[in-house]
Amino acid sequence: MTAATLAGLTGAALVGLGVYGLLVLAHPLRKLLCFNLLGSGVFLMFGILARKGGAAGFAADPVPQALVITGIVVAFSATALAVALLLRLFETSGTVTLNPDEQRPE
């Protein structure tokens, strides 16, 4: 089994783990961690595309690599924005629950 296939399988498993965590974990920071796991799993899928597309003297197809770099930046910005929101929510309300039932009734 090549490193690329193995990385692809790892990516597939990471997507599964990430989705599982997103579904069952309640804490928003945990969800955010799982979002990052899920995201990196998707990036690894691009990684196997890159490696299997190695041609014309390149060990890996540069296009998916460039997409992953852009993707990592975007995922980081998303994490930063979500963390800021979460910390602000904690600061103003003292809780971090996302459950709408615990909102004050209108």
């Binding site: 961690l33 930046v73 980081f76």
Partner: protein
């Protein structure tokens, strides 16, 4: 089975194990530290995929900067985990979720195994046009020429994220220094470290940004390392973060995308169109834009990590 296969399998098992740990860990902080370890292992995987540019990015962002962000957040949210009983799920729901996730992972794994080898690729197209950009690193050529529009907009995404983070400030804190209240203690060794490391780090960062034209590296990776140095001096309180309404800060923030847009628009007049580079001077133009991007990234990332201004302007308490 060869040695390298064993190593690859071991690495994959370790990556998945640490990932599972971050999900299963009881404490928030443990999960955050797990994620830092995970990011580092992931950059090893990228090295194995011969994607060094990605490995550098993952090391700097995935493990380094995101790690600081998550660890700091986990520390500030101490006591919010575990959640209330009302948010605990019934076992049935967990089983259903697990089944769904195994199905998703299974479908993707099947896709991976069925994927053609060699697969479809744009590598020959990149190789054919690489000469026109004057660059030696194909990934940089994709980022700065062929898909320059994505890269420019990605910088706009970063700026929007900064505005989004700043918009969470309290009204009376606007105009004050970005980030949370300062720390009480200055630690001796930390201060020393924060004075010693950045000069070295700046050299490394500039080197990585500069060689990015031909070798693995580039503006984003260099900028991210520069940002890391800024974060060290901020965390050690060697310098203070700037106030959010400083004009120079705003100029630095937008410098990268603005220069990208400006040169892109000039392309309308002197080259094949928007974001096209005139023949022969593509490489110097790209390096020129990258210099501004390094600056913007080095400013944006620390601002995203330290968060909105949080000190009322009325003066120190």
């Amino acid at each position: 089975m060869t040695v390298i296969e064993i190593l690859d399998i071991g690495l994959a098992v370790l990556v998945l194990g640490v990932a599972a740990w971050t999900i299963a860990a009881r404490e928030l902080f443990a999960a955050a530290v797990g994620y830092v370890a995970y990011g580092l292992l992931l950059s090893l995987v990228w090295v194995r995929l011969f994607a060094l540019d990605v490995a550098l990015t993952e090391a700097a962002i995935g493990s380094g900067v995101t790690g600081v962000l998550l660890i700091t957040a986990a520390m500030r949210l101490r006591g919010t985990d575990p959640p209330q009983a009302s948010e605990q799920l019934r076992p049935m729901v967990r089983v259903a979720a697990a089944t769904l996730c195994i199905a998703i992972a299974g479908v993707l794994a099947a896709g991976v195994l069925m994927m053609a080898d060699p697969g479809p690729t744009l590598a020959p197209d990149v190789a054919r046009h690489l000469g026109e950009t004057g660059l030696g690193n194909p990934v940089t050529a994709v980022l700065m020429a062929f898909r320059a529009f994505d890269t420019m907009l990605e910088k706009v995404v970063l700026i929007l994220a900064v505005i989004g983070v700043w918009s969470l400030a309290a009204d009376d804190a606007w105009g004050s220094v970005a980030g949370p209240r300062p720390l009480a203690h200055h630690q001796g060794p930390l201060t020393f470290f924060a004075q010693l490391l950045p000069p070295v780090g700046i050299v490394v960062a500039v080197h990585i940004a500069w060689v990015g034209a031909n070798e693995p590296g580039g503006a984003f990776q260099g900028g991210a390392l520069l940002a890391a140095m800024a974060m060290i001096v901020l965390m050690a309180r060697v310098v203070q973060a700037p106030a959010v309404d400083r004009r120079w800060l705003r100029v630095v923030l937008v410098a990268g995308p603005a220069m990208f847009l400006l040169i892109g628009m000039i392309g309308f007049a002197v080259a094949a169109g928007f974001l096209a580079y005139p023949d022969g001077i593509a490489k110097p133009l790209i390096l020129f834009i990258e210099a501004f991007m390094v600056l913007s990234i080095a400013a944006v990332l620390p601002l995203l990590v330290i968060g909105p201004p949080n000190r009322p302007q009325a003066g120190p308490p």
